[in-house]
Symmetry: none
């Protein structure tokens, strides 16, 4: 039963329209009653959809006024809940898939503790190199448990957000996470990938993102060349 909920459909639609520029930054969304009429649903349903947008920081509701559109927030950086694609500004971020998603066993030892189910399911592995202005800036290595994700290896990830694919196709939502940051000297491999100058240190991030699916966490290791860009986060 692949029934997609009404509030979710409206959420995805509005989200798409906000990003694609149908609604300008600072402008007002149609009122709740208008949305009810247009999409033939009741106000609680519309409000449920809008609540999700508020949670994403995509709109700001004001009593008596309306729902104000906030442009794809520059400031949900890598330090917050979203993935790397929303850092720096998506516009200039191109992605090169070094390793397409493949199924393999978890590395041992692994930097985070895995649940039994995660351990048993095996993992999906992928590597990406991400560019800003055609300069390599991010290199990230991702491990996900091989559950809930039928046909994931069939998707193309070129210039697409991993999180978007997880959210749209598999209803996986990021709830939170934890991360460790260090400044490190890069090894040869990293140095070559990121075109680093001699002596240039890199930012090293290890993160675990928890989702709405139990036992489904996303594990990433990120190397970031902070010579020309900085990691930006707001909270």
């Amino acid at each position: 039963m692949e029934h997609i909920h009404q509030y979710r459909k409206l959420y995805e639609l509005l989200r798409k329209h906000i990003f694609s520029g149908v609604y300008e930054e600072g402008s007002l969304l149609p009122s709740e009653n208008e949305l009810c009429a247009v999409h033939e649903m009741t106000r609680p349903t519309v409000r449920h959809a809008l609540d999700s947008l508020v949670k994403d920081g995509l709109i700001l509701k004001m009593q008596g006024k309306g729902s104000i559109v906030r442009k794809p927030p520059q400031n949900i950086g890598i330090l917050s809940i979203s993935g790397t694609a929303s850092a720096v500004g998506v516009r200039y971020l191109k992605t090169n898939i070094l390793q397409k998603p493949i199924i393999k066993t978890w590395p041992v030892p692994f930097q985070f503790e895995l649940s039994k189910l995660e351990q048993e399911s095996g993992c999906i592995y992928m590597e990406r190199l991400r560019f800003v202005d055609d300069e390599p800036v991010f290199y990230d290595v991702n491990h996900l448990p091989n559950i809930y994700l039928p046909r994931i290896t069939k998707h193309s990830f070129e210039n697409k957000s991993l999180f978007e694919i997880l959210r749209k196709n598999y209803q996986v939502e990021i709830l939170g996470g934890e991360q460790k940051l260090k400044a490190v000297k890069p090894d040869k491999h990293i140095k070559q990938l990121l075109h680093l100058k001699a002596g240039q240190p890199v930012l090293h991030i290890e993160r675990k993102l928890t989702t709405n699916k139990e036992n489904f966490n996303i594990y990433s290791t990120i190397y970031f060349n902070s010579e020309k860009h900085a990691i930006f986060g707001s909270f």
Copy 2:
């Protein structure tokens, strides 16, 4: 009309009970219908309250099962809202004041844009060096506008949290902020302060924290030796 909403009252009550230990970590909250009956409200109202708890990360709802209590996350690290004192674990963090708070003019140029009032008020400046296991790890430079803070230069900051003093003595609360992170090669001064080995890079953080007082932002520059410790954050 200071009417407090029902859902909010239930939210505050449950929140208090979670923190005070009435509900243990991992245990289940009373079911929605039970809460309805006990507090004499309808399910949408109860769900509204529970939604707020979910947003706080205090409970985890699972369809068919119930609402699972999650312990208040210990690890509000440096990447979140608190200051450095809550990172790493306060127990091992000692503070050495290199420069007691003094009043001076703002540096020009300053890394962040200042409001007119901030600019006119002048700034309070202080430097701290912070130790973990008697090894220097943090070095932070702080600029605050010289408003709302009578007699601030009289306080001793040794082994005390700047944020705690601001909150308790001046009712200043941190609402949010933004920060930029980089991995950099340290200059001589930093290298000496943090007892860095040759070639050891440092984490460089610039942050602006906004508060409940208008025009009162806290500006910090932090250098962190990430050789033995990592910056940890959860969100």
